[in-house]
Structure formats: structure tokens, C-alpha cells
């Protein structure tokens, strides 16, 4: 039986602040264990948390980008549970507890998803700030080891309503959100490093008008494709249960990447009682209207606005504008070409065709290319000043993409300077005509198609360096003679 799908998503975005949420330790990834710790993030007795102003600003920035209302007196709460990676025995967060204490920094935003056959309004229920836990390491000897570097790392949890109706909608939402946090500069968006993590609440119901079914929370999905697979598997699992007249158990399930299955972590019955209560060590956050306005006035351009500007101002096709703005790093790189003086259209031709192809072929990210936007601009200049022609330019690009040398370096080293000197081209034409008497006869007998053959031969004779327009012109004269 076919069911209709309902998805709600919770994304944990690690804020790319310099320091942790409640202490001055540097935020880090992949460093020697316990290098970035202090009595505060180790939860030592008598220590107290102090909120990181940059983290608050980042949360506000994200909230404003998603159209949220910013709470002028947001509260922190404690979520209590025992686990060795949680030094204080509680996590400082902004969720849970009684409604009067439930005051996250941002509430009531939205995202309008359009594109790829999707047109859906997604409610952003809330964005709250919280601290991350540390890490346990189990694979080095008989004891489990504890690394506190991640303890106290600032996170923003972005929670949607149960508003998505298909997997592509969910993926599109995540792509857009990832794009937004990257554009805002508040999160690195790196899913492998775990700084953009997603939990999905998935439920099925008979049809779009039926009441919501029992939801299952899916965890441990660290890539878009895993999210897609995990939800797919969960849909099949739930549909089978419903088909057989069963009931869905409200529970949390983890995606097992290796097996491609989900397994139950805990059901609602044995869910933790986190005993939330207001964090007494922190006074309410004081976020003035002036502060919100200050953050608003410094908001970076968001992907939607940037794409619109590319279409309206730069005159790019809609498709190109979307592709380039999909990733902030790509768009910044593209604008680097413009900054070096290249016209938007030419820059996008090289970018959409050649640069993106290199990325695809090499699997590199744009930052890791051996050449920069300036190289493309220089290349275009050499085409425009007729130093090289279009064909040579393509070869030069390939060389540049491998070695990272500048176009001028390659032109000089390889002697690629285009021949526009009519004398030299006339010599080449004469040689070609002498060497191909049969074809010359044929052309003069009316086989016009052979013109192309002569052009090719002249280009070959000049090792591709001749200016094609000049060749055309001179060749016409010579053949007519």
C-alpha cells in the first residue's frame, strides 16, 4: 500500500567561532587529544560557564537569515544525563523543560523551498544554542579513552516542523541550509567532520490529509546520500509494519552505514528523563534590538540574493547562476575572475565549462586547485588581445590546470604566441596550396567544402598559432587568385 511521507529535520551546525561556547579554549578538529581544554570545559568543580559573544552573534545571524524572531532574553537550560564524554554530567542547552523556561535564541522562521520540482514552505520552529560533548575512543587498548577537545564546542540546532513530503524535499532543504550557513560564515558545513549533522523524524500516514503518524527519529547519517538511504530504508520498514496491520513504535534508530540498515537505539519508554531545568549559572542572554539591527546590517549576501543578482545584474542564465551560487566558495571564486576584469559572460563560460570540469575530473575542491581566478582572467586577456586563439587557449588551460603556471609563463615557454603577421601566414598558405594541388583543383572546380580543409592545413602549418580570422581572409584571397 502506498503511504504519504512526512519528514521533519533537526540539524546540528557547529558554529565556526574561534573559541568554545563557554570558555576561552580554541575550537579544533582532528588535533592531539585534550590539547584544547581548561578547567571550565573539563567541568571541574567550582568552574562556571561564560557565554561566547561571537557564538551568540552567529546564532542571531542564522536566525535572521531564516526569518526568525530573536528572543531578547533567551534562557539556557541543563539537560542532565550521565556519560563519560559529558564532564559536567549535564549539557548546557536551550531546550526542554517547562514552557516558561523554554526560550531559545531564535523562533518562528521559515524557508521557502523552490526548485527541482519542489515548491514547499518549511517552518523553522526554533534555533537553539548548545554545547557539544567530548569524544570517547574505544579502539586503543583495553581501556576507553576520553578526548575533551570537542567539549563545549558551540552548536546551533535548527529544528523544522514536520513539513517535508519527500526525500528530495528533505535533501533540498539540507542543501539550502548548508548553503546558508556557509554563506553566513557561521559554520564550515563539513558533514564528514561532523560539523553539520542531521537527525530526521520520519513518519508515514494513509494520505496527505490523515493525521500525522508515529514518528521515528533517525540518527548517525553523515552525508546526503546516507540521509537519503536511511530515510528510504525507514520508509520501507514502516510501510511493511503498517501493511501487516502493526503499529510504529516511537523510537530512535541509528543508521548503520556498513550494513545499510537502521537499528533501534532506544524506544520512548526507555527514553532518558533529562530533568531539564533553567541553568542557574547563566543569567538570561541580553540581546538588544540595537544588537539585532547591527547583526542585520552586516548580514552577508545569501545564496538566493546572489543568484538573483547574477541573473539581473550580470546577465547570466538562471541555470548558470544557480550552479555557481550553489556553493559559496564557487561563487567567491567566480567573482574573483570578475574582480580581475573579465566580463561576467566570458568568466562564466570558462567557469561553467572548464573549471567545473576540472573539479569533477580531479575530485578536488575549488580551494585546492593549483590555479586561481586570476589565471582565468589572464587567459581571457590573452585571447582578447589576440596573443592566442581559442583553440590554443583550451590547450593552455589544460596545462595551467595541471601545473598552476600562469598563461603568460606557458605562452612564453611553449611559444604559443598567435601569428597575426600576414606575411608569415601568406607564406604558410603558399606552402599549403603548393603541397595540395589536387584539392586546389577540386576547390576551384566548385567543391566549396574544401575551404575548411585549407584552413586546417594552414593552422597545422602554423602549429595552430595563426589567427583564424586572418587565415580565413587571406586564404579567400589566395584561392580566388
Amino acid at each position: 500500500m502506498a503511504y504519504s511521507l512526512v519528514i521533519g529535520l533537526e540539524v546540528h551546525a557547529q558554529l565556526s567561532t574561534r573559541t568554545k561556547l563557554f570558555c576561552g579554549c580554541e575550537r579544533s578538529f582532528g588535533e592531539e587529544p585534550n590539547m584544547h581544554t581548561c578547567p571550565v570545559c573539563l567541568g571541574m568543580p567550582g568552574t562556571l560557564p561564560v557565554p561566547n559573544a561571537q557564538a551568540v552573534e552567529y546564532a542571531i545571524r542564522l536566525g535572521l537569515a531564516l526569518g526568525c524572531r530573536i528572543d531578547p532574553n533567551a534562557l539556557f537550560t541543563r539537560k542532565n544525563y550521565f556519560y563519560p564524554d559529558l564532564p559536567k554530567g549535564y549539557q548546557i542547552t536551550q531546550t526542554g523543560g517547562m514552557p516558561i523556561y523554554d526560550r531559545p535564541i531564535c523562533v518562528g522562521g521559515h524557508m521557502h523551498l523552490v526548485g527541482e520540482g519542489v515548491d514547499r514552505h518549511i517552518e523553522i520552529v526554533r534555533i537553539h544554542m548548545e554545547e557539544d560533548a567530548g569524544k570517547l575512543i574505544h579502539d586503543r587498548g583495553p581501556d576507553s579513552l576520553f578526548d575533551a577537545n570537542r567539549c563545549g564546542t558551540p552548536l546551533c540546532e535548527v529544528v523544522t516542523g514536520p513539513d517535508m513530503r519527500s526525500i528530495p524535499e528533505a535533501i533540498l532543504y539540507l542543501q539550502r541550509l548548508k548553503q546558508i550557513v556557509e554563506y553566513l560564515g557561521v559554520c564550515d558545513g563539513n558533514m564528514e567532520e561532523g560539523n553539520f549533522r542531521c537527525d530526521a523524524n520520519v513518519s508515514l500516514r494513509k494520505d496527505d490529509n490523515a493525521p500525522l503518524g508515529t514518528r521515528v527519529e533517525l540518527k548517525n547519517m553523515n552525508s546526503f546520500s546516507n540521509i537519503e538511504k536511511a530515510i528510504q530504508i525507514e520508509i520501507i520498514r514502516q510501510a511493511e509494519i503498517l501493511d501487516n496491520g502493526g503499529h510504529i513504535v516511537q523510537e530512535t534508530r541509528a543508521y548503520d552505514v556498513a550494513r545499510g540498515t537502521t537499528r533501534s537505539l532506544r524506544s520512548k519508554e526507555d527514553a532518558h528523563d533529562y530533568r531539564y531545568f533553567p541553568e542557574p549559572d547563566l543569567v538570561p542572554l541580553q540581546v538588544s534590538e540595537a544588537m539585532v539591527e547591527c547583526v542585520r546590517s552586516q548580514m552577508p549576501e545569501l545564496p538566493e540574493a546572489r543568484a538573483r543578482r547574477y541573473v539581473d545584474v550580470l546577465g547570466l542564465p538562471e541555470y548558470d547562476a544557480r550552479v555557481i551560487t550553489a556553493d559559496k566558495a564557487l561563487a567567491d571564486w567566480y567573482e574573483g575572475i570578475l574582480a580581475a576584469g573579465t566580463s561576467p559572460k566570458q568568466a562564466s563560460n570558462w567557469f561553467m565549462g572548464d573549471v567545473l570540469r576540472v573539479l569533477k575530473e580531479t575530485g578536488k575542491s575549488i580551494q585546492d586547485l593549483p590555479f586561481g581566478p586570476g589565471h582565468i582572467a589572464a587567459l581571457v586577456v590573452r585571447i582578447e588581445d589576440k596573443t592566442i586563439n581559442g583553440k590554443i587557449a583550451k590547450d593552455l588551460f589544460s596545462e595551467m590546470a595541471q601545473s598552476g603556471k600562469t598563461p603568460d609563463q606557458i605562452i612564453d615557454e611553449k611559444g604559443l604566441r598567435q601569428v597575426t603577421d600576414t606575411g608569415a601566414i601568406d607564406v604558410a598558405i603558399a606552402a599549403v596550396l603548393t603541397a595540395n594541388p589536387k584539392e586546389l583543383e577540386g576547390f576551384r572546380a566548385g567543391k566549396d567544402k574544401l575551404f575548411g580543409f585549407f584552413v586546417g592545413q594552414v593552422m597545422k602549418e602554423t602549429k595552430g598559432k595563426a589567427n583564424p580570422a586572418v587565415v580565413n581572409e587571406l586564404l579567400k584571397k589566395a584561392l580566388a587568385g
Binding site: P39, L42, G43, M44, P45, G46, T47, L48, P49, V50, P51, R78, N80, F82, P84, P87, K88, G89, Y90, G97, M98, F146, D273, R275, Y276, F277, P280, D281, L282, V283
Partner: protein, 472 residues
């Protein structure tokens, strides 16, 4: 009993006695005392520091106001490199790599920390009997309790070992022992003194404050330790007056509120008479008595214990055997390690409060307990505000009786909780309270509690000094 004052200590230093001598006499007195004020003495470091200061003094260097004077610190206030146990086995051997802000401020004024004072485990008690490192006795009668939880600090001052000591007050833990031991105890306004380095019992109620043998010394210590601290988000961003300048302002025209609820049923008649005599000293000096009412006082004990235990259950989660605490041996699983470590190393009262605190925060009970307690807290806070519209400060008993016999309330937790009835509303409302000795009853000390609006410690010091002067 011979007491030591800051003035007396400075006098001795200026007459040529060395800090080393002052400190070593304090250490000797601590060691020879049978009243158990100290859990840990820092002998070699404190003597080294004294010698350094003696040299600096000889070299004519400018020294802080407490230079070379020995002090004592309650064992729940972190001291760098010096064992800090909270009176609990679970922290036996814990040497913090940092000092509390209040300790740093006293040390930068030149004070020499000689040791850590005994206390009820994690501040949870009113008798100091749950200290894991030995019994603490009342110097006025060693068969009696010094009060708690800061019993050791009160005793160290009452015995004249040190002129001043720091304690902490969550529900009366400075004021009750001050009353029982006959010393001055000051609980500042919540937020007045940084809590950084104070090992939390109940974060929204805890506050560090001084014990001293006179009001002037308490005022001086408060001036040194008070003030905003970037490490404590709840510390007040307010200027700190020089509290000693309030000392001799007198009380002429000052309105002293007498809250009926504190002076009625349950108050020992002799204690009441001694306290009324104290109030009379104030009126004799020109103060005006005003009757006031705090009708929600009867709910304070319940609200206090719910909030304090809820916060404690969370604050004490970090003592889990994973890092700096002791750990049970041969645990079979993580859960087994947690439960055995905490069952073996926490005392009975601490376990009781963790369990109750966990219960009141549990889903399904939250509204009935924690949420209701917070509403009562708000009510109590408002009633104090209303009362202060009619008066400048309040005068109340610190406890309904003099010090109890050791062991008397140990088997009856409820009786122990009820003994806090006169002190806890002040913590719920975050107000400052000062206890000043009045005439003893049957040889046992009694202290009158003065309560002021938030951040009006100067009023307390004015009135406290007047009370003290009239008794001289």
C-alpha cells in the same frame, strides 16, 4: 576566649612580630585545638609565603592591607595546589589547578592562607557533622555543634586561630555557625561576590562571605572580595563601595523591621529575650522599630529544599568517578562504576539530597515540585520588597535555639531541615544577611540576624557595628 582581629594582627606586625611568627602561631593553635576546625593545613607553603612577606616588609616594599595575616578558607572554595574536598571522601586528594576569585583577591591583598576548614559534606547540613574528615566541636561547649555547614570557618575565628575566614552560605551556612559560635558572619547579596571556584551546592543560592570577630573586619573583607568577575556570569556588574566607611554612620532614624513570622512560635524564650535585648540596643542608639509581615515564610523551607536539592542533583553529577574523583574498584560496567562510586564515596545526606533533587525534576513531578517552588520563591522575594518599603532593614533570629548537642539532629533529617527556618528565605530572595553576637544564653552564643535589601550591605554594617558597640 581570646580572639584575633585584623587590627590586632596589624598591631603585632607593626610592633615587630614577623608574619612567620603570626602564621606559625596560627598553625600551632590549629594543630593543638581539639575542636577540629581544619580539614587540611598548608604548613610549608604558608610559612614560605610569610617569610617572603617578612622580607618584602623589611625591604620597605608596599604591601597589601592583609599582608602577612593568616586566614582560613572553607573546604568547598578552590585553592590552587591545596587539597579541596568539600568535606567529602569523593574529593579526597583533589588539588584544584586554580583558585577561587575570592581567594585570589584576598591573596593579592597579602593574606596568607593557612588551611581549609571543615564543613558539612558539600555544604549539606546545619551541624558540620557530615564532614568526612572528622567531627567539629563548638568551642563554647565541645559537646555541641558549631552549626553548619561552614562550622570549621566559624570555629577557626571563634578560637582566635585566624582573625577572618571565608565560608559559604546556601541556606544559612555562614549565619547559623556565626550565631552558634559567637562570631560575626556576613552573607552578601547573591551576585555580590564571585562564585568562581566555589564548588556548587545550589548555584542560585550559594554565596561566599566572611567570618570575623567584629563587624569592621567583616566589612573590610567584603570590600576586598566583592565585585564583578568576568568568570562568573551571575556576578553583579555594580560598583563596590568601601563598606568600612559605613561603620560609624550610626543608626539614628534607621527603621528596623521586625517580621512577626520570625519572632513567634518555636522561638526559645531565653533566646528571644537575648535577641530582643539586641534590638533594644539598636533603638537605644536611635533606630526606630517597625512591625512588618512576611506571610509566605512558612513555605520557605519546602521551596528551599526543592530548589536546592534539584540544583544539587545536577551540580554533583560531575563527581562520577571518571576524572578527578575517587573511583570504585573492579566495576563490572559503566553503570556499575557510576553507582558504586557514588554510593561508596558520597555520604548519606548527600545521597538523600541527590535522590530527592532527581525526583523533583523528573518528568511528571516537575510541575508539582520544582515549578511550584519557583513560584513560592518569587512570592517570597516580592514580600521582602514590600517589607522594605516600610523599613531599611529587618532584624530576626538566626536560629530558634542555641547550639544543639552533637548527634541530636543527625537521625532526623526533617528536624535538621527545619532548623534552617530563619535563614533560608534570605537565600531564596538573594538578600544580604549579617549575624552579630548578642548576649549569650546559658553560656552559649546567640546571634541576631540583620537583613537588608539587595546590595545594601552598608546598611547591615552600619547597624551591626552599632549593635556591637552598644554591647561593649
Amino acid at each position: 576566649m581570646p580572639t584575633l582581629t585584623l587590627h590586632g594582627a596589624r598591631e603585632r606586625l607593626s610592633q615587630g612580630e614577623s608574619s612567620e611568627s603570626l602564621v606559625s602561631k596560627a598553625l600551632d593553635a590549629a594543630k593543638s585545638s581539639t575542636n577540629g576546625a581544619f580539614n587540611t593545613l598548608d604548613e610549608s607553603r604558608s610559612l614560605d609565603r610569610a617569610r617572603e612577606l617578612d622580607k618584602a616588609r623589611k625591604d620597605g616594599k608596599s604591601l597589601g592591607p592583609l599582608a602577612g595575616i593568616p586566614i582560613a578558607i572553607k573546604d568547598n572554595i578552590c585553592t590552587e595546589g591545596l587539597r579541596t574536598t568539600c568535606g567529602s571522601k569523593i574529593l579526597d586528594g583533589f588539588k584544584p589547578p586554580y583558585s577561587a576569585t575570592a581567594v585570589l583577591r584576598l591573596e593579592s591583598a597579602g593574606a596568607i592562607l593557612i588551611g581549609k576548614t571543615a564543613m558539612d559534606e558539600f555544604g549539606m547540613g546545619s551541624t558540620s557533622e557530615s564532614n568526612a574528615f572528622g567531627v567539629v566541636r563548638n568551642p563554647a561547649d565541645p559537646t555541641r555543634t558549631p552549626g553548619g555547614s561552614s562550622g570549621g570557618s566559624a570555629v577557626s575565628v571563634a578560637e582566635g586561630i585566624v582573625p577572618v575566614a571565608l565560608g559559604s552560605d546556601t541556606g544559612g551556612s555562614i549565619r547559623l555557625p556565626a550565631s552558634f559560635c559567637g562570631v560575626v558572619g556576613l552573607k552578601p547579596t547573591y551576585g555580590r561576590v564571585s562564585r568562581y571556584g566555589l564548588i556548587a551546592y545550589a548555584s542560585s543560592l550559594d554565596q561566599i562571605g566572611p567570618f570575623a570577630s567584629n563587624v569592621s573586619d567583616a566589612a573590610e573583607i567584603l570590600s576586598l572580595i566583592a565585585g564583578a568577575d568576568d568568570r562568573d556570569n551571575t556576578s553583579a556588574r555594580l560598583d563596590v563601595p568601601d563598606f568600612t566607611s559605613a561603620l560609624d554612620q550610626g543608626v539614628v532614624g534607621l527603621r528596623v523591621g521586625i517580621p512577626a513570622e520570625y519572632w513567634g512560635e518555636g522561638l526559645d524564650p531565653q533566646v528571644k529575650a537575648a535577641l530582643e535585648d539586641g534590638v533594644r540596643r539598636l533603638t537605644d542608639a536611635g533606630a526606630i522599630v517597625v512591625p512588618v509581615s512576611l506571610p509566605s515564610t512558612k513555605y520557605a523551607v519546602s521551596a528551599y529544599y526543592i530548589i536546592a536539592m534539584a540544583e544539587a542533583s545536577s551540580n554533583l553529577s560531575r563527581f562520577d568517578g571518571v576524572r578527578y574523583t575517587g573511583r570504585t574498584k573492579d566495576a563490572k560496567s559503566l553503570l556499575d562504576m557510576y553507582s558504586r562510586t557514588r554510593s561508596e564515596l558520597f555520604g548519606q545526606e548527600v545521597q538523600r539530597r541527590i535522590l530527592l533533587g532527581t525526583f523533583v525534576l523528573s518528568s511528571g513531578y516537575y510541575d508539582a515540585y520544582y515549578a511550584k517552588a519557583q513560584r513560592i520563591r518569587e512570592l517570597i522575594r516580592r514580600e521582602f520588597q514590600d517589607a522594605f518599603r516600610h523599613c531599611d532593614l529587618l532584624a530576626a533570629p538566626t536560629a530558634p535555639t542555641t547550639a544543639w548537642k552533637l548527634g541530636e539532629k543527625l537521625e532526623d533529617p526533617l528536624a535538621m531541615y527545619l532548623s534552617d527556618i530563619d535563614t533560608i528565605a534570605v537565600n531564596l530572595a538573594g538578600l544580604p544577611g549579617l549575624v552579630v553576637p548578642v548576649s549569650p544564653v546559658g553560656g552559649l552564643p546567640v546571634g541576631l540576624q540583620l537583613i537588608a535589601p539587595a546590595f545594601q550591605e552598608s546598611t547591615l554594617i552600619r547597624a551591626g557595628r552599632a549593635l556591637e558597640k552598644a554591647g561593649d
